[in-house]
């Protein structure tokens, strides 16, 4: 029914510490969006709503700022990747690496990123927004968006690689 509720919820879940806090943020954001919708003059209502979600998240207590900068947690659960470990294409280290990563671990690596890196990554990769739209939503210069996005991706690739090396 409401077309952008999933987008609002997804961003809130990635910015907030827990599910309850995310729900509060989405509710708050939707109330604001409904009140101010008449004044909306942009072309992309989804980006506009995400900006409201983002602002609500940042003024909330439950914002997950992400503590560790380089999360290489020993959190891989036993048995989680065993099925995937039987990879035949050992010649291609990248394919092997990717196969060995459980979805859950990728999730944890991203969740542990500092929020200023996590945020552009989510907006770009999951919402597929342009640099310009991300810059508007996060109130950040576009060059900063690009370098943060780059750092986020590099950290992700390298932490995955580092935990692979163990």
């Amino acid at each position: 029914m409401l077309p952008h509720l999933d987008a609002a919820y997804n961003l809130a879940r990635w910015l907030m510490r827990d599910r309850a806090a995310a729900e509060d943020v989405v509710q708050e954001a939707m109330l604001r969006a409904l009140s101010y919708f008449a004044s909306f003059k942009g072309v992309n209502p989804r980006a506009w709503l995400l900006q409201i979600v983002r602002n609500a998240a940042y003024t909330s207590q439950g914002l997950d700022r992400g503590a560790q900068l380089v999360p290489i947690a020993e959190t891989a659960e036993p048995g989680m990747v065993t099925g995937d470990d039987l990879v035949s294409d050992a010649d291609d280290p990248e394919a092997a690496l990717i196969k060995a990563r459980g979805a859950r671990q990728v999730h944890e690596l991203i969740a542990a990123l500092p929020v200023e890196l996590r945020e552009p990554l989510i907006l770009r990769e999951l919402e597929e927004l342009s640099y310009k739209e991300i810059a508007d939503i996060t109130n950040t210069p576009i060059g900063t968006v690009m370098s943060r996005l780059f750092r986020a991706r590099r950290l992700l690739a390298q932490s995955a690689l580092a935990s692979e090396a163990r």
């Binding site: 077309p3 509720l5 919820y9 729900e23 009140s35 992309n44 209502p45 390298q158």
Partner: protein, 254 residues
Amino acid sequence: MSRMPECDKVLLVQAELDGELDAAAAAALAAHRADCPVCQAATAELAQARALIERGQLYQKMPQEVRRRLTAQLAAARPRASPPRLRVVRQWWRSAASFGLGATCAAAVALLVVLPRGPDLAEQIVAGHIRALQPGHLADVTSTDQHTVKPWFDGRVDFAPPVKDLAAARFPLSGGRLDYAGNRPVAALVYQRDKHIIDLFTWPGDAGLNAPEIGQRQGYNFVHWSQDGMVLWAVSDLEASQLREFAEAWRRSP
């Protein structure tokens, strides 16, 4: 963590991955990367990050039960938010709000109606065509073989563009490139008729146009239509009648 030497072009490598580079900048980057190990490494690293993300299934959709609760809360909260003095729109709002859920539905419709719409798509398409006509910008992949051109788009756009060989209709394929129109990366296929270049821009969608519609901008003719879930725009300096012939040949071709 390994320390890599830096290159100020790595952000362009990333921009290419994100579909934010135009054809000219992408070509310049390709030339640079051939000699730059830093950018080669960055390309691999970024591809790896993206593969991890795709594997991660990270999108967190709103659970049904949360959706129900939220919708009810919004409906209940709405009347209180109404101001005492009402203008026509607000009056409408309040009557909608008195239906509870109805208010939320109305807002949803409102959010839906304001769909992203560029200033003028035809203008963007013609501008893309003119840009591409500048020397060296026409094609990122040069081939008359549809089986070379089509796979080239894999991983460059998030859809598989239909690529047809129309040589039999005297519109031979000559290549393809990435372009940008309507706020999204699109596939551009390059065809020729004699010395004339035809750009065919395509992306997924349905403009609701089954029959081709002809138009003109800045001396260039264009024709656009929808077919098999794709929007198609052909632009050229060909005469309108020949461009229409191109569109018909494309539409009939399997």
